[in-house]
Every structure is written in structure tokens, then in C-alpha cells.
Amino acid sequence: MIEVKNLIKSFDENEIVKDVSTTFIKGKTNLIIGQSGSGKTVLLKCLLGLYAPDSGEIIYDGVSNKMMNDSNKTLLRREMGMVFQGSALFDSMTVLENVKFPLTMLTEKDDEEVRQRAEIAIQRVDLEKDFNKLPSELSGGMQKRVAIARAIVMNPKYLFCDEPNSGLDPKTAIIIDKLIQEITKEFNITTIVNSHDMNSVMEIGEKILFLVNGEKNWEGTNKEIFKTDNQSISDFVYSSELLKKVKKYL
């Protein structure tokens, strides 16, 4: 579980994340949604420790970021897995090498054990036939799956996904969403997905945080989203004409 208390983050004079407080629940898929520029990525990078908050507190399973020194932060990062928007796979490495990479770099396991664990992670995302392919030989969806395998290979306590569906067709996007949700349940981890994809919201949004201009505007579940009176979230979710018509029949 990750608790965020009164988090503020600014760049120069611009306050990007404004006094956000929320809780991301363990074993559930937590979504941060909002329009482009609403502060989703900055909030995610604060949670990852890539940006230091100006004020406020982030508590990871009872341990506050304020109590951590540099080596604690390094150890915490080893408990985090991240799926980047563009997958961020290492171009010169094969699928297997990409997934092995965190294990090789950060653990003292022997080569055989590293290989076995990487193979298990790759099999989990159904890419066992593509062990020796380079990222450039894979489709966007397959690259995302490799990124997920690399993120889970260290058995993380926290999984972060930054717009995992961007650039994917709707069918592949749902497969990736489902995979993230299954992995969250299977490993009982705290998963935080940054998204503005409505399919993701409806499919896997077990806990949703809606940001508007860096402020928390609404939070709830994908079921509650249909019943809410909050105009901003309704306008965001039912932004297309088609969905507005669908809403009338709900």
C-alpha cells in the first residue's frame, strides 16, 4: 500500500501537483487518470522517487520517504517495477537479456538461476517463442509485454505503469490491461497505472484517482464512476458523442 499525504511538486514557478492526498491499495489496480498535462506523470515520478516532492509525504507500506536515506531509497527502488510508456527496452539486448538485466545487475544469483527466473517471467507474458528477438523485431504490444516481464522479474512490491496502452490497438490494449490486473492479483502487489484510456478505466480501475490541473478532483472505483454527480469526471469519461449516447441508456 502507498499513502500519499499533501503532496506538492513544482517546476520553477509552476505547481504541477497540488496538495494531493490518496491511498493506493495493495492487490488492486490503482489508476491515475486525467487529461494530458494534469500532473499524472509527475505524480507517478514522485512515487517512483525520480522527482523529490517539494512538500508532503509518501508512505510505502508504513515507511515514510522522509525517513529514508539514499541507500534506503535505492533498496526501495529495487522493490519497484516500472512499465514505461515507450517500453524503454534496451535496443541492443534480446528479449531474454532485457528481462535478465535487473537480476544480473542487482542480485548475486548465478547465471542458471537468473536465466530460469527470466524465462518464467517471459512465459508469464506468453513470449516464450521470442526469447532471442531484439526489441526492434517485436510489435508494440509484444514490447509492452517484455517491459511487464522485466518489471515483474524482481518480484516487486510495487508496479508502476505509465500509459501502458498508448500506441496499441484496442484489442491489444485490453490484453495488456488484463495482464496487468492478473499479475497484480497473482503477486498481491500495489499496482499504479497512469492512463487516459477509457477502456482501461472501465476494465481494470479498481481504484481511480482523477486529477484536474494537478489537483485531486475525484476518487472511487470503476463502478462508482457511472453513478457519480461529479461533472468533471463525467465530462472526461463521456467525452465522445458515442459515449454520451451510451450514458443515456445506462
Binding site: L48, L50, T74, L75, R77, R78, M80, M82, F84, Q85, G86, A88, L89, F90, D91, F101, P102, T104, M105, L106, F160
Partner: protein, 244 residues
């Protein structure tokens, strides 16, 4: 102020590249890869350029020594001095700023654009140690490249003079004339400093670049410009300190 903060950032980057080191097994692999990419793969271009520039230096020297009272051995002498003092260490380094520097900036810059550096940071790996440190170590072998440049350039001069009808014996006498071993030390001190510049300035431009694919190209150009300027300025300072 802008440049001052960049200079500070540059030295912090160098310092940070020695901290939180990766496992030696991994670093060793990376260093060998960088030696291959930055040193071994540079030898062919360095050899070709050195051979022809050495030949041109000796031909131009010969053209300017038309007086019958001047010994032909002066051609060998002038070629040796030009090559050892300036051509091999300084001008070859500027050429290498184009070849090696652009390669370093574009490869690190592409990793920045495609979030690969962020991925390293998230994993708790020091990206500067992983990316920059092996390049610094690999470029410590750069004096080897410059040694090849020196030999090949003088050999190019020798062959050009042989074809032009100047006796090889006179050229070799010129090469050995008034030889100052200190000039070699001076050349290698410069080469060592240029190697550090070649590894770190392009890494700095790649690592801290912002934007997309277009900016990678711009960063490579900027890196070449700054690396060349810094090499020329450092060349002036070291020459002033060591030879004047």
C-alpha cells in the same frame, strides 16, 4: 550564469560516474565493448587520415625547401615535429570528436529519449556509472590510437618522399635529428587530457539532453562543437604550460 551551472553540472556528472558502481563482471563487459566501439573501430579511419596527412605535410615541406643550401633531411625533421607535436594529438582528437563524440552523444541521447536512462534509475542502477564510466576507462587507451597515428603519418611522409625521389636515408636522418624525448611526453599528456574530454563532454551532452529525435541530432552537433573548442583551448593551455 547559464554556462557556470553547466560547468558545475559537468563536473558533478564526472564525479557521479565513479559512485555506486555496477558489479565488476558487468563493468568489465561494458569496458571491453566500449574499447571495441571507441578505440578498435577508430583505428582504420585514423590510419587512413594519418597516412595521407603525413604525406601531404612532407610534400608541402619539400616544396618550401627549394634552396639547395638546405638539407633534404629537414623534410623528415619537419614532418616528425608537425606530426608528434600537433597533428597526431590535437587534430586527430578533433576528428575523433566527430567520430567518437557524435557516437557517444547520439547513443546516450537516444537512451534518454526512449526512457532507457529512466529505466536504469528506476531499477536503482547509477546510469552515469553504467554509461559514462566505461567510456572514460575505454578512452584511456586513446594514446594507443594516437601512437598509431604518429607512426602511420611519418610512414606516409616517408613513402611520399620516396616516390618524389628524395632519398629515404635523408628522410630517416631528419626523423632522428635533434630528437627531444620531452616532446613525446608533452604529446601524451595532451592526448590523455583529450581522451578525458572526448569521453565526458559528448556524454554530458547526451545525458542531459531534452526533447525527441530531432534534439538528438542537435545535441550531437553541439557536442562536436564544444568538444572541438575545449580541445583547442586545452591544447593552448597545455602548450603554454609545458613548452613555452
Amino acid at each position: 550564469m547559464f554556462y557556470l551551472s553547466d560547468i558545475g553540472k559537468y563536473f558533478i556528472m564526472i564525479r557521479m560516474s565513479f559512485f555506486k558502481p555496477c558489479k565488476w563482471k558487468i563493468l568489465r563487459k561494458l569496458i571491453f565493448k566500449e574499447i571495441n566501439d571507441l578505440i578498435i573501430e577508430s583505428i582504420p579511419i585514423v590510419s587512413i587520415l594519418s597516412f595521407f596527412i603525413g604525406a601531404v605535410i612532407s610534400i608541402q615541406t619539400a616544396l618550401n625547401l627549394s634552396s639547395p643550401f638546405l638539407s633534404k633531411s629537414l623534410i623528415g625533421f619537419a614532418t616528425r615535429q608537425s606530426v608528434i607535436l600537433e597533428f597526431a594529438p590535437t587534430f586527430m582528437s578533433i576528428i575523433m570528436a566527430g567520430k567518437v563524440g557524435s557516437f557517444i552523444t547520439s547513443s546516450i541521447g537516444t537512451m534518454r529519449v526512449t526512457e532507457q536512462i529512466d529505466a536504469l534509475e528506476v531499477m536503482g542502477i547509477n546510469p552515469l556509472n553504467y554509461l559514462v564510466f566505461p567510456k572514460i576507462i575505454a578512452l584511456l587507451f586513446y594514446p594507443f590510437v594516437i601512437t598509431i597515428a604518429m607512426f602511420v603519418a611519418i610512414f606516409g611522409g616517408f613513402l611520399a618522399m620516396t616516390f618524389a625521389g628524395v632519398s629515404g636515408e635523408a628522410f630517416i636522418t631528419g626523423i632522428q635529428m635533434d630528437f627531444e624525448p620531452y616532446h613525446i611526453i608533452y604529446a601524451y599528456i595532451k592526448t590523455f587530457l583529450f581522451a578525458i574530454i572526448l569521453a565526458t563532454v559528448p556524454s554530458f551532452h547526451g545525458f542531459y539532453m531534452k526533447g525527441g529525435a530531432l534534439e538528438v541530432g542537435k545535441a550531437s552537433t553541439l557536442s562536436f562543437v564544444w568538444t572541438s573548442i575545449i580541445i583547442i583551448v586545452v591544447n593552448f593551455i597545455t602548450t603554454q604550460l609545458l613548452l613555452s
